[in-house]
Symmetry: C2
Subunit: 189 residues, 2 copies
Amino acid sequence: MRVFGIDPGSDRTGFGCVETDGTRHRLVRCGAITAPPHAPFPEKLVGIYRELRACLADCRPGIVVIESVFYAANARSALKLGHARGVAMLAAAEADLPIVEYTPAEIKRAIVGYGRAEKPQVQQMIKLLLGLSAVPTPHDAADALAAAICHIHARHPGGPLPPATISRAATSWRRYRPSVQATRAARRP
Amino acid sequence: MRVFGIDPGSDRTGFGCVETDGTRHRLVRCGAITAPPHAPFPEKLVGIYRELRACLADCRPGIVVIESVFYAANARSALKLGHARGVAMLAAAEADLPIVEYTPAEIKRAIVGYGRAEKPQVQQMIKLLLGLSAVPTPHDAADALAAAICHIHARHPGGPLPPATISRAATSWRRYRPSVQATRAARRP
């Protein structure tokens, strides 16, 4: 099974794909999508969407994991993060993949065993669990891998997370059809 | 020229397309994309994206106008709005259309002549300017039309908005190529 983690951000979006047989995990691919610093905002969104779609088509995971966010420094930064996160979610949904969300504390607990672990501890565990020679860089890529491994650990019987956490955000949008009310004007004389 | 306005929201996204010869404006189409109340969040985003893309392909506007947001009630609602707004922006950008943003005050000033006008005043002016028999419903559709007409008025010489406002957010993402750093793991023995 392959699990694809995403750590979204408007300036840099980390991604990481992990393959597992249930016991041993292997890194398939990880990296970050970085926007040119002065690119207009819509360009950044297009970049995130297109690159993620390409990565998902390439890695062919069975599920996508995104860190859930409950707060941000302020409404403005939350709004900006929301744009990037929405586009990342759309890329996964358009690829017909289920999406699972975990809180930052759940991810840390699943990787290190402690919900308030520091970033370097999480990164060292990622390196260890995937048998890498170094910590994955940039840190956004490591965060995306942590989300992916969190899901693998959570699925495991006796894993650190209750099963409820897993199914909570699972989606089935294939049935979805939003209602559109539309008015088409008669041409005026 | 046709101008397409969008009023994004995760539960309901208004849209409205206006055609103008510079003096007289005509409603092409307006409406709202409404998600089923209990649809999973990614489904809602897919609905907004797909319906907006279909509307844009149908209406064939020259430009897309989105109300800019600077604040929200709190970080959580800003994050949610950001998801919908990011997906709406992506739909316009993927259709190769320039995107222009105006603040709520700029839109009110351009329609009613007063930046703190009440919603019903704006809606009545929309009805008048487009020669409609009634105020467009739902109000999200009217808000989207207001954004579109704001841009038409702003472009007009001697219009209520300084020209700087118009070009500010214009984009040219065709040249954009984000840099992707990716690590592909060697298969472990």
